[in-house]
């Protein structure tokens, strides 16, 4: 077992009755790496990710996340990762500060920690004037950045982002990726699923899932070479049609 990797997965499998949703996938993700987790709808991405974040028990195989075993140490895994869903889930009827307070609190941060981190977050995002507004009244792009910052509040070693850019405009997407880069540069591992193939190009390495298996895994440049393709989009289509 390689523990200096952020994520280490070996033959991870999930079956629902006769149906194999995730079929013995194996991969590793290094510290500070931006790892793109791609696949068509129904390919098993979400199921695989749920096993890694400790809310679904694998049927067989092994996986270490942030140095902890997902089978037996799910609680420690949860404490050391951050997660942001495609819904940018925050409480609409709470203010920015209250949201930060609540989510910081459930990760066991102390009051002073929460205060200083919330202040930091507000300065970083430049949202001083709306601090006391309910989150529901903010534009989607702001909610997205806020959800990301809240997921990072407890300084997780790894952040899992489930389609983090759905529904926002290209400029906001670009800005969001800048936040991701900055975070990765600080040593946080980023595990991201996406539908946008141009975003796949921003990742250090990319895996593509087809029918529960990982059919390709490499840097975007290598993948394009391997599949003789112009873009990641073409790589993806070639794999899907195989």
């Amino acid at each position: 077992m390689n523990t200096d990797k952020s994520i280490w997965v070996k033959d991870l499998t999930k079956k629902f009755g006769d149906f194999t949703a995730v079929d013995a996938i194996s991969f590793e993700v290094g510290k500070g790496e931006i790892f793109g987790f791609l696949g068509a709808n129904g390919a098993g991405k979400t199921t695989a990710m749920k096993m890694l974040i400790g809310i679904s028990k694998p049927t067989s195989g092994a996986a270490m996340v942030a140095g902890y075993d997902v089978f037996h140490q799910a609680d420690l895994v949860k404490q050391n990762i951050g997660y942001m869903s495609q819904k940018f889930a925050l409480y609409d009827d709470l203010t920015i500060k209250e949201n930060a307070r609540f989510f910081g609190g459930i990760y066991g941060l102390t009051n002073t920690e929460i205060k200083s981190k919330t202040q930091q977050l507000i300065t970083d995002l430049g949202i001083q004037e709306v601090v006391n507004q309910n989150v529901g009244s903010l534009p989607l792009g702001w909610k997205q950045k806020l959800a990301f910052s809240v997921a990072l509040l407890h300084e997780p070693k790894i952040v899992f982002l489930d389609e983090p850019t759905g529904g926002v405009d290209p400029i906001t997407r670009r800005q969001f990726w800048e936040m991701i880069y900055k975070q990765a540069h600080n040593g946080t591992t980023i595990f991201v699923t996406t539908h946008y193939m141009d975003e796949a190009e921003y990742c250090d390495r990319v895996s593509i899932m087809v029918d529960g298996r990982i059919d390709a895994l490499d840097t975007p440049a290598q993948l394009k070479k391997q599949f003789d393709a112009e873009s990641m989009n073409e790589v993806f289509l070639k794999l899907a049609r195989k």
């Binding site: 949860k78 997660y83 869903s85 925050l90 009827d93 989510f103 609190g105």
Partner: protein, 368 residues
């Protein structure tokens, strides 16, 4: 513990910031109880009654006069024979008949006690109950008046007979009924909606990925509603007691404990509903159709269970509200203790455990 407090705080913000839920939580109990309360009491005005006076003496004449003088009753007809009862009631105008047996005054003075019979038309059970209550009150009043001049107290016993619906026993159906509905509404509907809301907006996922374990999440969500339900129960009891004179004969501690038990059973139903609904709307529909309707129709609150067809009577047994209403009435009206109510209590306990086990199982399946 700190996490738990944070959770409860957040939940209270949700409740206070949503005007609709705020109204359901605080406005509804008061509106309902006043509505039901006054709708029932207002019916008693100039109710027409009949008299069969076989003794026609001092006591019976005085009492008849007193009843006629009250604003609640109006003597419409004097009967001369007991075989007239049937036809009189069937006409539907007269709601009650007072029967004085021969030599009422003599019996009262020689034996110290006499019986007066009150027959009521119980096709409208609530009205019948109220009529009987008022007549009883007037007779009691009369009794204490004549006793002022007596050394040995005299007793006039009211012998009541509910015609057409003899099983109906309790007065003040509505306080226990409204209490049951409100507790069901707050505990089951509001919790199932609030949990379903977390699923809908996606925060449930975030909570499950957090170090909180699922049971902490559920307890944190449910806890504020337990407090609210208890608060509501107290408001209803106070209104019932002070505004409508609901008797409070039994042990208040027992009443409180039984109410907490019912709240828990309703909460477990709410959790169960939330495990099968993905959106707030679904949760609300299931709660309304699956919980509120049975509570209103099958709990014996509005429609007496004994007058239902057999299949419905059997079905009513699986409605927790039925047992809670029996318990409430037992404690409030008959001062029953746990010795008499252990069966109903046990049923509620078993139901609560069953619903809880089922929701835990459902919840796990969803997580797998």
């Amino acid at each position: 513990m700190k996490r738990f407090i944070g959770f409860v705080k957040k939940e209270i913000y949700h409740i206070l910031r949503d005007r609709r839920s705020l109204f359901i939580l605080f406005g509804m109990p008061i509106v309902q109880i006043l509505l039901f309360g006054f709708a029932i009491t207002n019916e008693i005005n100039n109710v027409k009654i009949g008299i069969l006076d076989k003794s026609n003496d001092e006591i019976s004449r005085q009492l008849i006069q007193k009843i006629d003088a009250s604003p609640y009753f109006q003597i419409d007809q004097y009967l001369y024979d007991s075989n007239e009862f049937e036809t009189t009631f069937k006409k539907g105008k007269i709601k009650a008949i007072l029967v004085f047996e021969a030599q009422t005054a003599k019996e009262l003075i020689t034996k110290g006690s006499v019986k007066i019979q009150v027959l009521t038309d119980a096709t409208e059970p609530n009205t019948a109950n109220t009529i009987l209550n008022y007549i009883q009150a007037i007779i009691q009043n009369f009794q204490s008046e004549i006793n002022l001049q007596q050394t040995i107290p005299l007793q006039i016993v009211v012998e009541s007979k509910m015609l057409y619906n003899p099983e109906l026993k309790s007065v003040y159906l509505f306080v226990p009924g409204v209490m049951t509905i409100i507790l069901m509404l707050v505990s089951a509907m509001m919790t199932s909606i609030s949990i379903a809301k977390e699923k809908e907006i996606g925060t449930m996922e975030i909570l499950l990925v957090s170090p909180l374990n699922p049971s902490q999440v559920i307890v944190g969500k449910v806890f504020p509603y337990i407090l609210l339900s208890i608060f509501n129960a107290i408001v209803i009891l106070l209104l019932g007691f002070f505004v409508f004179g609901m008797p409070m004969n039994g042990n208040l501690v027992l009443l409180g404990l039984e109410s907490v038990l019912f709240i828990l059973s309703a909460l477990s139903l709410g959790i169960l509903i939330s495990t099968i609904s993905q959106t707030q709307q679904t949760a609300m529909m299931i709660s309304l159709m699956g919980l509120l309707l049975p509570v209103i129709l099958l709990s014996g609150y509005i429609f007496p269970i004994s007058s239902m067809p057999q299949p419905l009577q059997i079905m009513s047994n699986i409605v927790p509200a039925k047992w809670y209403i029996i318990i409430l009435k037992g404690i409030m009206l008959k001062a029953s203790g746990i010795a008499l109510l252990w069966k109903e209590t046990l049923i509620l306990v078993i139901m609560t455990l069953f619903f809880l086990a089922l929701s835990v199982k459902n919840y796990k399946i969803r997580l797998e």
